[in-house]
Structure formats: C-alpha cells, structure tokens
C-alpha cells in the first residue's frame, strides 16, 4: 500500500505534570507512557476526540496537550512526524530511555 493510501488517524498526548514525561490517552482512559497503547481516533470519531481533549484540559496533572497524526504500519502506531517518534521513544543518541512517570503505571485523572 502506498503512503497516500494509508489512513491517517490521531492520538492524544500530553506531558505529565511532575515528571514532564510524555503520556498518551489509552483505550481504558488512562494516560500511559507507552505510545503503542494509545487510543487511536478515526476521522469519524472527531467529536469523541474533542470530548477527551476537553476532559484532559480540565485536569491539573497534564500539560502541553496535543493531538498527533499517526498511521498503523505493520500493526504498530507510527507518528507521521519525526518529532513525535523521538518524543515517544526518547533521545536517539546516545539512546536514552524516556522520562519515567511517578510511581504507578499510568496517570489517572
């Protein structure tokens, strides 16, 4: 399938307040550090995406809320922008792990 035929979708990301770590809204409504567990919104789910953004904006635990355009490639979520790939996986050289969030596996609002 050519690049043009891949459906572009969106995920929602933010930085966790205390650590500054990148987190992603999951299907379960938690904010997780793993981008691969992000909830993917199709174009048809735009109003739901807006609702989730509004909900997150009311949180005191999240900052710098953004949506990220992604595609599914070989079963994995892949952002269209290099910036978001690096943001999800950490600095590339020397390779460093992403920032860790506070105790617990996710940010709960």
């Amino acid at each position: 399938m050519s690049e043009k035929q891949i459906t572009v979708k969106e995920i929602i990301t933010a930085n966790e307040l205390v650590s500054g770590a990148s987190v992603y809204l999951s299907d379960a409504g938690h904010w997780l550090p793993e981008m691969q567990k992000a909830r993917v919104f199709l174009d048809s789910e735009h109003s739901e995406l807006e609702r989730q953004i509004e909900k997150a904006q009311n949180s005191t635990r999240l900052i710098s809320l953004e949506t990220v355009r992604v595609v599914h490639r070989q079963g994995r979520i892949e952002p269209l922008r290099l910036r978001e790939k690096i943001r999800a996986t950490g600095p590339t050289t020397p390779r460093q792990r992403p920032q860790q969030i506070l105790a617990g596996d996710y940010v709960s609002l």
Partner: protein, 511 residues
C-alpha cells in the same frame, strides 16, 4: 571571582522560597498551568520534548571549582549524571522533576548560582570572552563591567517585560571571542586618545530567523556613563520595540525598520536626561567590584612552550598545546581549553565525574577558576606552563584530552530534536557523524581550522549563520533534509552567510 553581597544573597534566597511555594501550589492544583508557566520560566524551567529542562546561569561564563562540583552533584542526584553547556555560557539539566526543582535551586543558591532571567523577555545572562582576565591581547578585563551590568539588569523593574529577550555580550580584547556583533548590544573595550578606556557600543545584532550584524551605535562610552547609556538604549527599545509580532520584536528589527540614525537620536535624547544622574558609576564602586576580579597570586616564571622540542619528544602533548592552549597575559602561564567534543561525542555534554575532574584540576592548577566558552567548552584560565603536561594526562584519563579546539570536530550544536520542543531536526547525530568521519588526527590537521555550527531550527541556538560551514535542520515529510550554509565568520563580524543548498536526506533510525 565576584561573591554575592547581602542583597544578592537575599534576593536569590527569597526567589527560591517563592518558587518552592509556587511549585507546591501548582502541585496542589491551586495554580493552573497557565498561571504557573510564566513563573517557572522566570526561574529557567522549560518544558522540553521528554521532560523539564532547567537552565542555570553562569554569569559571564565564570565558574568556581566549588560551583562546578555542585553542578556535578545536582547532575548525579537529580538528573541523569550529566549536564549540557550551552552557547550562551550557561548550563542545562535535561531531566529534572518539577518537585525537585526547588531543592536544586536551593543547592545552587548555596554556591551563589541561580536560574533567574535565563528565560523570558528580560535581559539574559551577560556573556563575555572565555579568556577574560587572562588573555594576552586584552585591553581591560571585562568581567567587572559585566558584573556591574549583571547587578543593574537583575530584577530591573523597568526591563522585566521587554518586547522580547535581550542579550548583551562584552569583550575587553580587540579579537572578539564573544561574538558581540551577534547580540542585541555588543560592547568592545576601546582606548581613546587620552588613554582612557571606554566602550564601543554596537546594537541590533542577532541570529535566529532574521540574522543581522550589529551596527556601531557609539564609538566611546566611558565606564561611568555606561549604565546610563545602556538604560537609554533599553528604554527606547522598551518604548518602540514591536509587541504585536514576536518574530519582529527584537531590537535588530527596530534598528532595521527605523534606521540607526533615528534610533540614535532617540537614545541620545534619553541619555541626555540620564547622563550624570543616579546611574553614573562612581569610580570607587568600580574599584570595589574590580577587587573581586584581582589577578590570582601568580608565581614568577619565564617558562615558555618550545613547540619544536615538544613535537620531537611528545607529539600528542604538542598537539594539545598547539590547539588547546591560549596565550596568557602573564609570563609562564597559559589558558587551557578543555574540549567537550570527544570524537563522536555529544557537543557540550559533560558527565558528573568529568565535571568533578575538571573542578579538581581548577582547584589544583588554576586558582579555583573556570570558564565556560560560547563554543561549549570549558577553560582553565590560569595554568602554569610547567604544569600543562600533568593537566593533559589527567584530562586524557577522564576522556577530556581531545586536542581539537577550532578544528572540524569542535562542532557547536544545539540540543536539536533529540531534546528541544522547538526543533525541526536533530543536531547531535549529525555532529557525531561529522566528528567520526573527520576525527582522525591526520585528517583534522590536513583540514586545519574549520568551524562547523549546527542548529536544529531557525532559532539558531547552534549559531549556524556564523560558522565556516553552518547547517540548519529543517523538517520535510517526517525526514530531516539539512540545509547547509557556508562562509559566515564571527571574528571578522562583517561577512554574511550564503546558502549552499540542500543536503542529504536523513531517515529516522539510522543512528
């Protein structure tokens, strides 16, 4: 070195306490991010791609061994065991947690450091020649005047919310190592026909998306009038600088749009009101500040490098002396630049262990003094020539012995897309690739002096406009085609850069 007076100590301590309270209120939800953001930025705390970043001021690039030990401690305890030295002679920590920052600031205050005015639309850290107070070609040590400007500009009530950030650089030597013509105001020492020392004032320089070389505004401002003159420039800028468009808000745009003569008339008019007033610097106060920067107790020595003999006996040391040692004003001494550009390394990064080694060397061999250069290296300003070989051995053992100052591998690079939220492309991997490719000693010697500067976006933190070769990273369809520039040269200061065309495609995951 300057030591805080009671006022300095009190305002830094008060600021730490204020910020501790602000962080607590943010964490409790009492403050929103919208309310908190300007407060954290006033204390040098940015949010980057992966985490917060704390930028700590190193006033005019001068550090004590004690301060560098403390920075190493902070890197170990609160960060990931390293720190990054910047092109504005500051130091950055890439991974602090918000709730740790008040403790970090308290530790910094304990060694007379802070992060105030390292962000925001205010007068930023005053930068100067990394060899200030040591260089053989110096007319006057610029640090006392830099310190006076620091005191005047710190928490200045009129200039805390300028149209845009404002950067001042000062050099006491005719060879400009502080890139003064690429600052909002550049000051260069000058001796007039009466033998008095004053300052040539340049205005309106800068890089970023609209690179401009500063224009000469005044060819001689006496010490005693300097603050009044700077206040006049800042007042005119504060009044007429554009606040409607952040991309046109720097003073360089005001100079460009209004013209230097119009601006000079306004500044002269303001200066006529301020000259001879409260801002006149008493000679006694200048002398009091100068006393803090008195030369250290040098030993009498007539030791000199004999490079021919050194090349015959120890080529490695000879190369280090040739590239990393700078002529000192005092016989028998030299200034040693410690390269933070190991072959294939990250430009400007130093581990906590390396910082401790350098601080120990400063204590033992350089009267406890250190400098940060705008080329992202460290300097031991006063090393006895007879002790350079010992210093070199310690540096080599710590992975800091690279003899490459001003060579092709001494690359200036911003953090780029690996860290920076504004960047479009990575700078660090490109610098590493170039360093590895040309890192062989013979190849570097063949190429000779060559300054490569890399910025990951148009904001030009990597000074790409003024490198012999400048590289600007841009983003195109998720990849990083680099744009190369060539022909800039900060030292001559009057040659613009020229675009040389697009570079290679760089796919994600190659490194």
């Amino acid at each position: 070195m300057y030591r805080y007076d009671q006022f300095d100590a009190r305002f830094v301590a008060e600021r730490v306490a204020q910020f501790r309270d602000q962080v607590a209120r943010r964490l409790s939800g009492e403050l929103s991010e919208e309310q908190f953001r300007p407060l954290r930025l006033m204390n040098g705390l940015y949010l980057q791609l992966h985490a917060y970043m704390l930028r700590v001021a190193v006033p005019y690039g001068t550090l004590s061994a004690t301060q560098l030990h403390k920075l190493a401690d902070i890197a170990r305890i609160y960060d990931r065991g390293y720190a990054h030295f910047t092109t504005r002679q500051n130091v950055q920590f890439n991974w602090p947690r918000l709730d740790d920052v008040p403790d970090i600031l308290e530790l910094l205050a304990g060694v007379q450091m802070h992060a105030i005015q390292t962000s925001g639309n205010c007068i930023r850290n005053i930068t100067t020649d990394q060899f200030a107070g040591a260089a053989k070609d110096e007319i006057v040590d610029p640090r006392p005047v830099a310190e006076i400007i620091r005191q005047w500009s710190s928490l200045h009530p009129e200039f805390s919310f300028l149209p845009r950030k404002f950067k001042i650089a000062i050099t006491g030597a005719p060879n400009d190592r502080a890139a003064i013509k690429f600052h909002d105001i550049g000051l260069m020492a000058q001796q007039n026909e009466k033998g008095e020392i004053g300052w040539v004032v340049y205005v309106g320089g800068g890089m970023g998306r609209t690179p401009m070389i500063a224009k000469p505004l005044n060819d001689f401002v006496a010490h005693k009038d300097l603050l009044a003159y700077l206040e006049s420039v800042l007042r005119v800028y504060n009044r007429f600088g554009r606040r409607d468009n952040k991309y046109k808000a720097r003073i360089k745009i005001l100079v460009h749009e209004e013209g230097l003569e119009t601006l000079r008339e306004q500044i002269d008019s303001e200066f006529s009101l301020l000259c001879g007033g409260d801002l006149t610097l008493p000679e006694a106060e200048l002398e009091r500040i100068e006393a803090y920067f008195a030369p250290p107790p040098f030993k009498e020595s007539n030791a000199r490098f004999n490079l021919a003999r050194l090349w015959a006996s120890d080529g490695e040391l000879a190369r280090f002396v040739e590239h990393n040692c700078h002529a000192h004003a005092r016989d028998g001494y030299t200034s040693v630049t410690i390269s933070l550009k190991p072959i294939g390394g990250v430009p400007g990064d130093a581990s906590a262990e390396q910082m401790d080694v350098v601080a120990d060397l400063a204590e033992k061999f350089s009267f406890g003094e250190l400098r940060v250069s705008h080329a992202q290296n460290l300097v031991l300003p006063h090393v006895a020539i007879s002790e350079v070989a010992e210093v070199f051995q310690v540096l080599k053992k710590a992975g800091l012995g690279e003899a490459n100052i001003d060579q092709i591998t001494d690359i200036i690079a911003c953090p780029g897309l690996d860290f920076c939220a504004l960047a479009n492309a990575r700078s660090i991997p490109l610098a590493q690739d170039i360093s590895k490719r040309f890192g062989a000693v013979a190849r570097q010697e063949e190429i000779g002096e060559l300054k490569i500067k890399i910025s990951g976006c148009i904001n030009a933190c990597g000074h790409h406009h003024v490198g012999h070769i400048g590289i600007l990273g841009v983003e195109k369809k998720g990849t990083e085609p680099d744009h190369h520039w060539r022909g800039g040269e900060r030292r001559s200061g009057d040659r613009g850069d020229r675009r040389a065309g697009s570079g290679r495609e760089r796919g994600f995951g190659r490194h």
